[in-house]
Symmetry: C2
Subunit: 145 residues, 2 copies
């Protein structure tokens, strides 16, 4: 198990992490949509110990292997964990790349979800607007493709 | 200009950096080969300020834009700079991914070059062996492609 330095982790997320808001059509929900936030870090599949150490650091999330493209991912989707662990971490150990803009948007959405505003039509529309501004930087392409 | 935290920089290099040894055929050199070491960080072309800040931190290297694939790169090739600035940095602020293995190989080669051993047949052969073990981790593919 690797002992994670939080500043190192912030830098690694600037290189390999992402903040994503999914809005999926789902008739189970009253408004017809489900909001699905996700913080993730993608590595090659040779780094499981590192990602499990990051999971231990945050005390939340899951690590899983994507055999299709030989990657391993750490991800956190649960709103409570994002609100209580992930958001405060990046407020204390800030990002330096343009990914920090995605983080600010992500934080706004998580705070709205914590207040259950994503379950109102007005809140959902606002989240859609925020989402439309996110993940525009090309860093994502460099890491993902 | 961004004030760079060294632990953050170590994490960012774990995500986006690489250590590379080139061995190019060149009849100008007595042995017929030139050894070309390179430390580099690749970002999307939206991050010039960040890479110039990293350049300022190391006090060596160059930043240039690769228009062909919309990336911007920071790189250090000069052996003296690698020996005096880059190598000591990663000894003090270690990498966590398997990229640290590449760093150890790279460090061995730079130390040999500092002692001019790359200009001997025995040294060149040893560097070829070290190079053959480097950059095997698939992280490179994730970042580069």
């Amino acid at each position: 198990m690797v002992v994670i330095n939080p500043f190192w982790l912030s830098g690694f997320v600037d290189g390999r992490g992402s903040f994503y808001i999914g809005i999926d059509a789902d008739p189970v929900f009253e408004l017809g949509f489900q909001v699905l936030p996700e913080f993730r870090i993608i590595c090659c599949d040779e780094e499981p110990a590192l990602l499990y150490s990051i999971r231990t650091y945050f005390r939340h999330g899951v690590v899983f292997t994507n055999n299709a493209n030989c990657t391993i991912e750490y991800r956190v989707r649960e709103v409570g964990a994002l609100y209580s662990a992930v958001i405060p971490f990046f407020e204390r150990y800030p990002l330096y790349t343009r990914k920090k803009f995605d983080f600010y948007c992500f934080r706004d959405v998580i705070r709205m979800m914590e207040r259950k505003e994503h379950l109102t039509l007005e809140g959902l529309e606002q989240i859609k607007k925020i989402k439309s501004k996110m993940n525009k930087n090309k860093d994502e392409d460099i890491v993902r493709t």
